[in-house]
Structures are given as structure tokens and as C-alpha cells.
């Protein structure tokens, strides 16, 4: 069953056509990487999938409200970790923040819960951004280079989490430029000339 379907996505910036009729379909429980050179439109594609950018043409349908972790960490510098969680609890309309608390513990930054985001390190800010994307157990997860600034332990914790989400049926799209990670994905989509021109075969799930 398809959890995310994008059809005929076109996007130009001025004369430069970045996405040219791109199609993408991701099934529930599938972990898909979108890779490509710098400037090929990976981030643009993810912004369109998340609804942050309206495409010139094309449609996006999704199984439900996605979790979105943008490339640039978008937080309110003046608010603490817990205040961010309260904001997104209201946004998602969820009664409990237990899942957010669990993610904060697992990603190892519980001691920073009372600190404003502006005083956190780059890696901790990225962890908070990821927590905000995951805390409502989304059916579709859209992650743009989500592990930038992570230390090795957190990086491994991230892949453990991703494995659990896959097992629970979450469709996950990860923008990545790291070639050595590709065996972790079910599919690797190469973005070239505004289209997904090559899809590698199905890989074994990450250990």
C-alpha cells in the first residue's frame, strides 16, 4: 500500500528547471533514500512533499500528517526544549508528550530540557528537530540530512529508531548525500536532471 505518492512534480526557479515531472511512490514501512549531487533539487523535492513549497505542477498525496525534519534546523532560539515540545503537542493535537519524552531520552539530551534552543549545540538542536518530527508517530517521515552534527552513538540510535519505525509501518524518505549509507535503505533514488532516473534494487534492511 502506498503511503506517499508524488506525480508529475515540476518546479523551476527562474529559468532553471529543478524538478521536471518527477514521480515518487513510497510504500508503508519502506525506507527510501533520495540522493544526488549538490543543487539537483533534493531539498526542493522534500519541501514540496512536506507542503512547504507549492510545486509549479504535480500532486502529492499522503496517508496522513507527515513528520518533517528540514535541512536547516528550524527552532525558536528563545524557547526551551520542553516549550518546543508543548508547541508541537498543540500543533499535532496530541494529548500526551510521552513519545517526545521517550525520544529525548533515547537521543540522549534529557539534561537540556530546560535550556533555550539558542544555547544548544548544533547536534542537540538537530536531535530536538528530529524529536519534533517524530513525536506524533507519523505515517510518513520526511528527513533532510537528519543526522548532521550527530555523534557516533546518536547516529546509531537514529538508525535503530528508523528500523523500529520501518517495522511499525512508517514510510520514510531520507535526503542523503552519503554513499556509504546506501545499504541501510530499501531503495535508493538518484535525482538527476529533475527526475528520479535510477532506482537501485531493494537492499537488505539495516542491521
Amino acid at each position: 500500500m502506498s503511503a506517499l505518492t508524488a506525480r508529475g512534480i515540476c518546479q523551476a526557479f527562474g529559468r532553471r528547471q529543478v524538478l521536471a515531472g518527477l514521480d515518487l511512490e513510497v510504500a508503508a514501512g519502506e525506507l527510501v533514500a533520495v540522493v544526488g549531487e549538490n543543487g539537483t533539487g533534493k531539498t526542493t523535492l522534500l519541501r514540496i512533499l512536506a507542503g512547504d513549497l507549492r510545486p509549479d505542477a504535480g500532486t502529492v498525496t499522503m496517508a496522513g500528517r507527515p513528520g518533517y525534519c528540514p535541512q536547516t534546523v528550524v527552532l525558536d532560539e528563545a524557547l526551551t526544549v520542553d516549550q518546543h515540545v508543548r508547541y508541537f503537542q498543540a500543533a499535532y493535537g496530541i494529548g500526551s508528550a510521552a513519545r517526545a519524552g521517550e525520544l529525548i531520552e533515547r537521543l540522549g539530551y534529557a539534561s537540556y530540557r530546560g535550556q533555550p534552543a539558542g544555547t544548544l549545540s548544533g547536534g542537540t538542536r538537530q536531535k530536538l528537530s528530529l524529536t519534533l518530527a517524530l513525536m506524533h508517530d507519523p505515517p510518513v517521515l520526511l528527513l533532510d540530512e537528519p543526522y548532521q552534527g550527530f555523534d557516533w552513538e546518536t547516529y546509531l540510535a537514529f538508525w535503530d529508531l528508523t528500523g523500529e519505525l520501518r517495522a511499525a509501518g512508517t514510510a520514510t524518505v531520507v535526503i542523503s548525500h552519503l554513499v556509504f549509507e546506501q545499504e541501510r535503505f530499501d531503495r535508493v533514488c538518484h535525482l538527476t536532471d529533475g527526475q528520479i532516473t535510477e532506482e537501485a534494487g531493494r537492499h537488505a534492511p539495516a542491521a
Binding site: D52, G64, Y68, V74, L75, A78, Q83, A90, G93, L132
Partner: protein, 251 residues
């Protein structure tokens, strides 16, 4: 909707409280500004035209300048505080909307938070003024300061959603606020009683404060003039803010 509105209002105010520069400006700049202006301007009489009544009254130039100096300080600070908050939180607001936050809840919370700040800053500046001068109509001065602060809170919001860079925004707020409040004072500007100045944002608050402080009169029409400026700036700012937020796809 109600939960989102309450959360956004509470957290918008919580974020504002952490604006250290705003606190420094309030605690240091406002009293120092009164002190400097007060020590430089003599108590010579100055003719001030109360346009709403059509009468010219001779007022104490020192005390009138304290009013316009107070207005100048609070318009600068309120404009800066709201501008900085809007600029800082715009990308975050976009992310909140993408996650399901209602536009109406976010926009209403921001408007109310700006209003709370304007009232707080206006009341504080009026309170500090009492250390330098105790006008008969202190309530009118306090009300005028709140009105002036509200106008520049709305202006800060508008500039915050319009300009591309922080520097341009700060420069615009400083220039317009200084020009606006400076020109209303006949001690600083010999042409202050010209009809053209009726079309400036601080005209209403200046007239209301002066009428209350020197003439024991409440010029209610000036409240309307000031609120019209506030409403115009706020409406424009909120429309642009709404346009800059993405569409909400998830209920």
C-alpha cells in the same frame, strides 16, 4: 483551536521575556533618556496647538519634551521588540503551520502578545516619567504611551514581515520613530504646529497626552486617530504574515 491559541500566546510571551536587549533598553535607556532630555531642555513656554479643539496653548517646553521623549523611547523599543520577534519566529511559524497549527490561532496569539507588550512598555515608561515630572493628567500620558506603543508594535510587525534583512528593519524603525516623534514637538521643531503633522502616527498620542497633562481634557477623537494607525499597520502586517505562511494541509 483554543488550546493552540493559549499555547501560542503563552510561548510567544515566554520567548519575548528572554529578549535581554529589550530589558536593558527598558531598564537603562528609558530613565537615562528622560534624564538627558530633561537636563537639556529648559522650562521655557512653548506654543502647542491642540488641533482637536482648535486652540493654541502655552505649555512648559521641558515637560512637553518629556512627553515626546517618552513616546520616542517607547515607539523605538516596542517597534524593535516586535520586529525582532516576528523576524526570529517566522521560519518556526512556517514549520508549526506545516505540522498542523491553525493560522488563526498563531496570528491571534501574535497580535495579542504584541498588544500585551505594548501596554506593558507604555505603562512602564509612564511610571518612570513620574520620577521626573508629575503631570496632573498622568493617566492621559500613560494612555497615550500605550497607544503610541501599540502603533509601533503593529509597525514592527509590518516591517518584520516585509523587509529582507535585520539591519534594514532596525534602520527603518529608528528613522521613522525618531522623525515621527521629534517633529511633533514645537520645542524641537518650529514647524510642529503645521497641519501636515496630523497625518503622522504619533500625532494622536502626542495630542492626547498634552491635552490631558496641560489642559485637563480627554481628547477621545485622538484615541480613534491613534487606533486607526495601529489597525492599518496591524492589518497590513497580518495579511502579509498570512501570505508568508504555507497552506495548512492537516486538520
Amino acid at each position: 483551536m483554543r488550546q493552540q491559541l493559549e499555547t501560542a500566546l503563552r510561548l510567544s510571551l515566554a520567548a519575548q521575556v528572554r529578549n535581554r536587549l529589550a530589558w536593558i533598553l527598558l531598564v537603562v535607556f528609558v530613565p537615562v533618556w528622560y534624564l538627558l532630555i530633561g537636563s537639556m531642555i529648559s522650562h521655557t513656554g512653548a506654543e502647542f496647538r491642540l488641533r482637536a479643539t482648535g486652540t493654541g496653548i502655552v505649555v512648559d517646553g521641558h515637560n512637553l519634551t518629556l512627553i515626546t521623549a517618552g513616546l520616542s523611547a517607547i515607539t523605538l523599543i516596542t517597534g524593535f521588540v516586535v520586529f525582532a520577534a516576528v523576524r526570529r519566529s517566522l521560519p518556526f511559524d512556517r514549520r508549526l503551520v506545516l505540522s498542523g497549527y491553525r493560522h488563526a490561532a498563531l496570528i491571534a496569539a501574535k497580535t495579542n502578545a504584541a498588544l500585551v507588550q505594548a501596554v506593558g512598555i507604555g505603562a512602564y515608561a509612564a511610571l518612570v516619567l513620574l520620577a521626573f515630572w508629575r503631570p496632573a493628567g498622568a493617566w492621559a500620558v500613560a494612555a497615550a504611551f500605550m497607544l503610541g506603543a501599540a502603533t509601533y508594535a503593529a509597525f514592527g510587525l509590518l516591517i518584520g514581515v516585509l523587509v529582507r534583512g535585520d539591519l534594514e528593519g532596525f534602520f527603518l524603525i529608528i528613522m521613522i520613530s525618531m522623525l515621527d516623534t521629534f517633529l511633533e514637538n514645537p520645542v524641537d521643531n518650529p514647524l510642529a504646529n503645521r497641519p501636515l503633522l496630523e497625518f503622522f502616527p504619533s500625532y494622536g498620542p502626542t495630542q492626547f497626552a498634552a491635552a490631558g497633562a496641560f489642559h485637563h481634557q480627554a481628547l477621545v477623537s485622538m484615541v480613534g486617530v491613534s487606533l486607526a494607525w495601529t489597525a492599518a499597520f496591524a492589518l497590513l502586517g497580518l495579511v502579509v504574515l498570512r501570505l508568508r505562511l504555507p497552506a495548512r494541509r492537516w486538520a
